[in-house]
Amino acid sequence: MVWQYMRDDIKQVMAQVFRLPVDQIPDTAKINNLLNWDSLGHIQLMLALEDRFGLRISAENILKLQSLEAIEQFLAQTAPAAPPA
């Protein structure tokens, strides 16, 4: 249940950043295979995740967080308890 909550939350952020309906963001979403998730979209997503989850994403993690799955695993390990959206 916690995992589903996190995934939905990330999808909400991605939907806002990439200007897509949430239901068009698949669980397999990756950089460069989702509309608007390019270089600029990537930094916008990282900054939006920082705002939403109250954390700082390092340069090294910017390089690792290239899929919804990777972001979810990273946030599950590092994010403070996610506040309600």
């Binding site: 950089i31 990537h42 390092s58």
Partner: protein, 375 residues
């Protein structure tokens, strides 16, 4: 992610330079001067704080270089407070590495590790969007001042443009030059840098100029590194002296740009950092050189609004008042209209960079990043 796909970031070591130059030549621009000239590269990215390394961040994928971000050290003067600052240069990743986040990761690592301000002079629209997203404040164009040199030389230069220039460009420049009326400055003399030396400038900088200033920290180390000992260009550095008390009141830097295969020259003014009473005498000295050399025009990219009255008294015009822009790239001569935007980021203080860029007293010139270099 497979190990061979993992991208890592690190600072450039001297042993990396041959590979880095190959990267620049292959993936940034074939024949780029930084790929050709190892001495210029080492000079451009020397790092006083890292004697064993260069001020360059690199991205590697499986041991292969795939990204580059140069960070030219150039501290910032905030009204007498010296803040660490670096100017980004040659920021790129290979085509195969685009859309991996490597470019923004390089910039984020610079934000994390440089411990001060980050600036950029000259960038394209794509970089503009990333700078904006990453919290930089932006100045759409560094103001450019222009002054007619010799009308026949300007006419000859513009006649080579693929697009005809409106005659009004020359007419407006001639009119402004004809109205030049610099004020006499009794008791002040202009001397060469070599005759007074860096110590005289250090005293002037620390005592008179830095305390009220806003811009690059222009101490004797910077002037010596950036202009006096430039590995390729020959800059002329002139100082204003008040012999009565031996004080130096200001400094001017310019250079003459020859144009390959053409008779015309350009005179590029790079610095005019001085107390108010020294401005006219320095500009008088510049105009004497203009008269002697007969360049097509003089150009000066400078943010300072405080210098505007003196520049106008010397016959300069803001480029934006002309119906067309004059070329600003000369090796080779390039008539494409190019503005010079600036971006600045300050850690922890969101308002600082915006306040600096919006200040009429900001003294920022083309020479302080990497925008006056050989091509």
């Amino acid at each position: 992610m497979a190990p061979e796909d993992h991208i890592s970031l690190s600072w450039c070591a001297p042993g990396d330079i041959p590979q880095v130059r190959e990267l620049i030549g292959r993936h940034w621009r074939p024949g780029h001067v930084m790929a050709r000239d190892a001495r210029l590269y080492a000079w451009q990215f020397h790092d006083p704080g890292r004697p064993q390394g260069l001020s360059v961040l690199l991205a590697r994928r499986g041991g292969e270089l795939v990204g580059h971000l140069g960070l030219i050290p150039g501290d910032f003067n905030l009204q007498g407070r010296r803040l660490p600052c670096r100017w980004t240069s040659l920021w790129f990743v290979t085509k195969q590495t685009q859309a991996t986040g490597a470019g923004v990761a390089l910039l984020r690592k610079a934000q994390e590790e440089c411990g001060g301000l980050l600036g950029c002079l000259g960038y394209n629209q794509e970089a503009l969007r990333v700078f904006g997203a990453m919290g930089f404040d932006l100045l759409p164009a560094l103001p450019r001042w222009l002054r007619l040199g010799r009308a026949s030389a300007l006419h000859g230069l513009l006649a080579g443009s693929p697009q005809p220039y409106p005659p009004q460009v020359g007419q407006d420049l001639a009119q402004a030059a004809g109205l030049a009326a610099l004020r006499p400055a009794p008791g002040l003399e202009v001397r060469d840098w070599a005759s007074l030396g860096p110590r005289a400038w250090r005293e002037a900088w620390e005592r008179d100029l830095a305390p009220g200033g806003l811009g690059t920290w222009l101490d004797e180390d910077f002037i010596t590194w950036r202009y006096v000992r430039h590995p390729v260009f020959r800059y002329t550095v002139r100082l204003v002296l008040r012999p009565a008390d031996g004080r130096v009141l200001g400094l001017m830097v310019y250079r003459v740009q020859e144009l390959a295969g053409r008779a015309e020259k350009i005179l590029r003014l790079l610095e005019l950092a001085c107390r108010e009473e020294a401005r006219d005498v320095l500009l008088q000295d510049l105009l004497a050189r203009v008269e002697e050399l007969g360049p097509a025009f003089v150009d000066f990219h400078c943010a300072s609004q405080d210098l505007a009255p003196a520049l106008e008294r010397a016959g300069f015009l803001r480029e934006e008042s002309l119906p067309a822009m004059l070329p600003s790239l000369f090796q080779p001569l390039d008539f494409r209209q190019a503005r010079l935007p600036a971006a600045l980021w300050a850690p922890r203080d969101q308002g600082l960079a915006r306040g600096v860029l919006n200040s009429p007293g900001l003294y920022l010139t083309r020479g302080q990043g990497d925008q006056d270099r050989p091509n």
